[in-house]
């Protein structure tokens, strides 16, 4: 009898230890989901910016020569980063799927967050402070700037909402 009980006790301990490491793993996977989304969001906005505003609408200029040196450096770095981020985040997502740890809502939240942060940076720092290029030329720029940055803020808020709801669901499930 005492022998059996001891074994049972050990079994419970093992189970608890397992859930602890599992929880650690879930935690890292959760942040990986978020990061994969954020990186993809940054890359995605970079892509939209390039494809829609530069190539299709021809609103943006490739380089309108009124940029500060810091603006050029910042633009180059963000171009490289968003480019790299798209591909890296896709591989991250593939690895998460492979490990069956992919969470769509958290990932989607990450996308909104990444997209919003990049757009806000582009709209305020690169367009206005560094005068990289403007959203559109030969028009009253004010409504474009306001729309651009309000949209960025909205994206960030939606992103935080999506990522947090997911976390709440997860922690309530863990408690149950």
């Amino acid at each position: 009898m005492p022998y059996g009980k001891k074994n049972e006790h050990r079994g419970v301990m093992q189970k608890m230890a397992l859930t602890n490491t599992q929880q650690d793993q879930i935690q890292t996977k959760a942040s990986q989901n978020l990061w994969s989304g954020i990186l993809f969001g940054v890359g995605f906005v970079g892509f939209i910016d390039e494809a829609v505003f530069h190539q299709l609408l021809h609103w943006h200029h490739f380089y309108d020569k009124s940029t500060t040196a810091a603006g050029l450096v910042s633009d180059g770095l963000f171009h490289a980063l968003s480019f790299f981020a798209t591909i890296a985040s896709s591989f991250m997502m593939a690895a998460l799927k492979q490990a069956q740890a992919f969470r769509f809502r958290r990932w989607l939240g990450g996308i909104f967050l990444g997209a919003g942060i990049f757009q806000l940076y582009d709209g305020i720092v690169q367009h206005k402070m560094m005068r990289l290029h403007q959203i559109r030329y030969n028009v009253d720029i004010m409504p474009y700037d306001v729309g651009w940055n309000v949209l960025a803020a909205l994206l960030i808020i939606i992103g935080i909402g999506l990522a947090r709801v997911n976390q709440k669901q997860r922690s309530s499930k863990a408690r149950a």
């Binding site: 490739f62 380089y63 050029l72 633009d75 180059g76 171009h79 490289a80 591909i87 593939a94 690895a95």
Partner: protein, 204 residues
């Protein structure tokens, strides 16, 4: 690569900056990338006798190789070399002297090769740096390349007419992206493979 050093292309590159850029992309970026993927040193080592192969591997452990193959050196030589070419008088000097012309193009190819080899670390490397380190170096290099292409757009090197410089710069920007895309995919695929192995071992 043969295409880029073929006489008629070289002649046109003298005349047109855009053709020069095509040459630059093929010779300095695409050719090195394809050669790195082909892993010529691994092939050579396999073809050698064990005795000779060992001596060659010992050569790669020489401190000089450590310094040269370091990603930081490779990026500096590659991107720094390009800035030196397009942002100084070197570009006009190159078209006055055949020797400088050959030297510049040799450097373009060698630095391109060194950079791709040290970032991808596929072929005979003494030390493979971590993914994050190589990723940052790659991002810095891509940034340097795209900043330079906008710089050329704004201030053409030598006596290049501004219209040609603008076309060439945009070609350098987007063409460079296309080739760097392949490098990024290859690098991230390496990360993905090691991640899968790690995940499997943590489950077991």
């Amino acid at each position: 690569m043969a295409l880029t050093i073929q006489g008629s292309v070289v002649e046109r590159a003298h005349a047109s900056f855009t053709t020069h850029m095509v040459q630059h992309l093929l010779f300095g970026m695409l050719a090195p990338l394809l050669i790195v993927i082909a892993s010529p040193f691994t092939l050579a080592l396999r073809a050698m006798s064990v005795h000779h192969a060992r001596r060659c591997v010992r050569l790669t452990k020489h401190p000089y190789m450590h310094v040269v193959m370091h990603p930081l050196t490779a990026v500096t030589l590659n991107i720094g070399g390009l800035w030196a070419l397009y942002a100084t008088r070197l570009y006009s000097m190159m078209h006055e002297s055949a020797a400088i012309y050959v030297l510049v193009h040799l450097h373009l190819f060698a630095a391109g090769y060194l950079f791709t080899a040290s970032i991808l670390s596929l072929d005979l490397v003494y030390r493979r740096f971590g993914f994050a380190y190589r990723a940052i170096m790659l991002i810095v290099a891509i940034a340097g390349h795209s900043i330079l292409s906008k710089y050329i757009y704004g201030s053409p090197p030598g006596h290049v007419p501004s219209q040609q410089a603008e076309a060439g710069a945009m070609l350098m920007y987007y063409g460079g992206d296309a080739i760097e895309l392949i490098v990024i995919v290859l690098l991230c695929f390496q990360w993905y493979k090691t991640r899968l192995i790690k995940d499997q071992s943590s489950v077991l």
